[in-house]
């Protein structure tokens, strides 16, 4: 059997990074949610906020732990499978990743300990500060990693040396490369939305099951605010991001639109089966001129088609095309449920409309799906380049690594990640089923219950 190391290494990277991104995206949103909840609790003294914090922090710790361990893998995988890439781009990307570790990872992981276990050991105010630091750390981390990723999409501020290695010329240009502001905004909002839909779904589940009503109302209420305001905002950010991509990576946009010929007034394809080999689509279902209107803000604007590029320079159209439709479809659905929820809220029926709660429950995983689909669009759309227009993916695999090694490690990752993901989901579902624990015990100033760390007597066996 012949293993193609390049394909296997790409699949392995896609698999491990897709698995990883789910957890940081969720914890970015959840950390901010916890900060808001704790702030509300400190301001109002309302016990419900404290219960909510205690409930979600358990889920947060599972997600954060899975994010940490799957993230360690990422920092080594550049080297194991893509050593030539590492050697070529490290002068540019190395400092960005270095700054991510220095300014974010330590911040998050150190103060996480206080956030999780610091009850009763630090003051209320300090605990809140720890929560905020973790929340800010997640944002800083996203800043650096998206700067690095965006640079690979729209590289600038460097020169290629005589030995083929890239050297930095201008750090400001490297970090604030053309696609970075759009990608950063798009991703942050996506992370907040993803989390909002999980929280809203759990709140709706409790409302539907008639459990923890006061807590559930806050969860659904906060999620509905996000869905009705931030989901429409995401539409505009996404649009701006798309126009930016049209300027710097037109081949990606052509793949997103399933557009083969360069034309004016191109239609929006609702459905199509793009065929890479015969360079055309089958079974098109389209709305005339809409894609031109969206992309160029002109009904008759011209958009370049894939045939403008040589066959070997085109991304895989079907994956990009369909991932894009999944992402946009979910985004529109989020806006719809957001508006519906807002209308119901102003009529005083948000917390009693059972079909709406079912809808929210069904929407729970959609944020993750949209997020992954969006990353598929941008990453597969960048192919066949690893650094767009500069370095080809196929040229930078580790030369000493054989296909069998990559295949075996891929298999190991699939098995382990499946086990980990399955168990993690099981424990999160178990926590949700167990529900919010309302603690009515009069406790010390920070509600520290069993946390007085003292010597336990002779009851050991």
């Amino acid at each position: 059997m012949i293993f193609d190391p390049v394909l296997l290494a790409r699949i392995q990277f896609a698999f491990t990074i897709s698995f990883h991104i789910v957890f940081p995206a969720f914890t970015i949103g959840l950390a901010s949610f916890l900060a808001v909840v704790e702030w509300r609790w400190l301001r109002t003294g309302n016990q419900i906020y404290r219960d909510l914090y205690k409930f979600w922090i358990k889920i947060f710790s599972i997600a954060f732990g899975m994010g940490v361990v799957s993230g360690v893998v990422m920092s080594y995988q550049f080297g194991t499978n893509w050593s030539v890439f590492s050697d070529k781009v490290a002068n540019v990307l190395g400092p960005l990743l270095g700054y991510e570790v220095l300014t974010a990872f330590f911040l998050e992981s150190s103060f996480l300990g206080i956030m999780l276990f610091g009850w009763g050991r630090v003051s209320q105010r300090m605990h809140f500060v720890a929560t905020c630091i973790v929340a800010i750390g997640t944002v800083i981390s996203a800043f650096w990693i998206l700067a690095a990723n965006s640079w690979m999409q729209t590289p600038q501020g460097f020169m290629v040396g005589a030995d083929g290695r890239l050297n930095p010329l201008n750090w400001i240009e490297i970090v604030f490369n053309p696609s970075f502001p759009y990608r950063f905004a798009h991703m942050m909002v996506a992370a907040y939305l993803t989390t909002a839909f999980v929280i809203g779904g759990v709140g709706s589940l409790y409302l539907y099951l008639n459990r923890h009503i006061p807590h559930a109302r806050i969860m659904l209420g906060m999620a509905a605010i996000m869905a009705s305001t931030v989901a429409p905002l995401q539409l505009f950010i996404g649009d701006a991001h798309g126009i930016n991509t049209l300027k710097y990576q037109p081949a990606k946009v052509a793949a997103m639109e399933g557009l083969w010929e360069t034309k004016k007034g191109i239609p929006l394809l609702l459905f199509a089966i793009p065929d890479q080999d015969s360079e055309q689509n089958r079974m098109e279902l389209k709305i005339p001129k809409l894609a031109s209107l969206i992309l160029t803000h002109d009904m008759n604007g011209e958009v370049r088609g894939l045939k403008d590029w040589k066959k070997e320079d085109r991304p895989k159209v079907a994956i990009v095309f369909w991932s894009f439709r999944v992402m946009v479809g979910i985004g529109l659905m989020m806006i719809l449920i957001g508006i519906t929820s807002a209308v119901k809220y102003f009529r005083g029926k948000l917390f009693t409309t059972r079909w709406l709660h079912l809808w929210w429950i069904a929407m729970m995983p959609t944020g993750f799906i949209a997020l992954l689909a969006g990353w598929f669009v941008t990453e597969v759309g960048r192919q066949p380049y690893i650094v767009y227009g500069v370095i080809r993916t196929a040229d930078v695999i580790s030369p000493g690594v054989i296909g069998a090694e990559v295949a075996a490690s891929l298999l190991a990752f699939v098995v382990v990640y499946t086990l980990v993901f399955g168990s993690g989901s099981y424990y999160i579902i178990k926590l949700i089923r167990k529900g919010v624990v309302t603690d009515n015990k009069k406790s010390d100033k920070y509600g520290a219950e069993a946390l007085i760390i003292k010597a336990t007597g002779g009851d050991d066996v």
Partner: protein, 340 residues
């Protein structure tokens, strides 16, 4: 324009910083990996809970030093990163899988009970052993050197496996157990502490034996190492390292049999690790791919190293500061109660 490179030897500074990061990783994750290795042998379930609680607030941050080690090597010495990662492909992947399993087992164990709790305890145990052993193997294989042609690794997928690297693998497992057991002496009381003392004094013999073995074998790996250690006047400068190590061993030995010494065994064990680490570093310096590329040949270009240094100079003390603060917050003895 001002340029750090005119005044500072950047690759040398970065070599020192990366070595420090790796050492901090070895210390910090070392004691929680060690606790994973001895977890199933603890005398009771309450002991096990107490052991897990003693490291719960710290393990995330401890593992972050490994990310800094990998990320730092990528940023500062990309050539070393690009050669060593493919060379140690298999042990690195097994180490990562081990770390994943033990990391999640940690979280899941707290959230389960009955048989599942026992099962996750074992996953934590085996994951910790796998990660520790592979780290030791990587260390041994690194010291022995790898095959290189041009700027790439050119050996086979199993080149890392040798009697020496397997031995260093086992040595690191015992070393981490010593750190873990002495950590427990500091953080627990009663029967957990009594048991940890036994574990530590048993392990101490093995750690001593492995350190002697490695010290004997190292000079045979390359004549440069032999010349370094056994020529005059070097021998006078280097003699304090083995002497200090021997004194620390004696100190630990005495303290382990002295019920009042609760903190010193842990810090003396750190001292033993530091001495061993300095010994290795001195032997290998200035090579970053032993005997093929030195620090200056493998370093990243000046702009990146300067930019990172600007961040590290204020950043590292801040990180160390809040790391110490977090340890301070959780000072004192650990209970077995559920912390969440």
């Amino acid at each position: 324009m001002f340029d750090f490179a005119d005044y500072l030897d950047l690759p040398l500074i970065w070599g020192f910083l990366i070595a420090t990061a790796i050492f901090l990783y070895v210390l910090l994750d070392g004691f929680d990996l060690g606790i994973g290795i001895i977890l199933p042998f603890a005398p009771s379930d309450k002991c096990r809970d107490r052991m897990m609680n003693s490291i719960a607030p710290f393990w995330d941050a401890n593992e972050t030093w490994l990310v800094l080690g990998g990320g730092g090597l990528f940023a500062a010495f990309p050539l070393a990163y690009a050669i060593l990662m493919p060379a140690f492909y298999i042990p690195i992947i097994i180490m990562l899988l081990g770390l994943i399993m033990r990391g999640v087992a940690f979280e899941f164990r707290f959230k389960s009970d009955g048989k599942a709790r026992v099962l996750w305890g074992y996953v934590f145990h085996f994951g910790s052993i796998a990660a520790s052993f592979c780290q030791g193997v990587i260390l041994g294989a690194f010291v022995q050197g790898v095959e290189v042609s041009g700027r790439n690794f050119s050996g086979g997928p199993l080149d890392w496996a040798s009697a020496f690297s397997i031995m260093t693998g086992i040595a690191v497992v015992f070393g981490y157990v010593l750190l873990g057991a002495t950590w427990l002496i500091m953080k627990t009381e009663d029967i957990t502490q009594v048991w940890a003392r036994k574990v530590a004094s048993y392990t101490l013999n093995f750690v001593g034996m492995f350190m002697v073995l490695v010290s004997i074998i190292m000079p045979f790996i390359d004549e440069r190492i032999r010349d370094l250690w056994f020529s005059f006047p070097n021998i006078y400068y280097l003699l304090p390292i083995p002497l200090m190590t021997a004194m620390l061993f004696i100190l630990i030995w005495i303290d382990l049999h002295n019920a009042k010494a609760e903190y010193r065994p842990f810090f003396a064990s750190i001292g033993v690790f530091l001495m061993g680490y300095i010994g290795l570093a001195v032997s290998i310096f200035p090579w970053i791919i032993p005997f093929k590329f030195n620090l200056w040949e493998a370093a990243a270009s000046t702009p990146g190293l300067s930019l990172l240094l600007v961040g590290v100079i204020p950043g590292l003390p801040v990180i160390l500061g809040y790391t110490i603060y977090c340890y301070y917050v959780f000072k004192g003895k650990t209970s077995h109660e559920n912390l969440y």
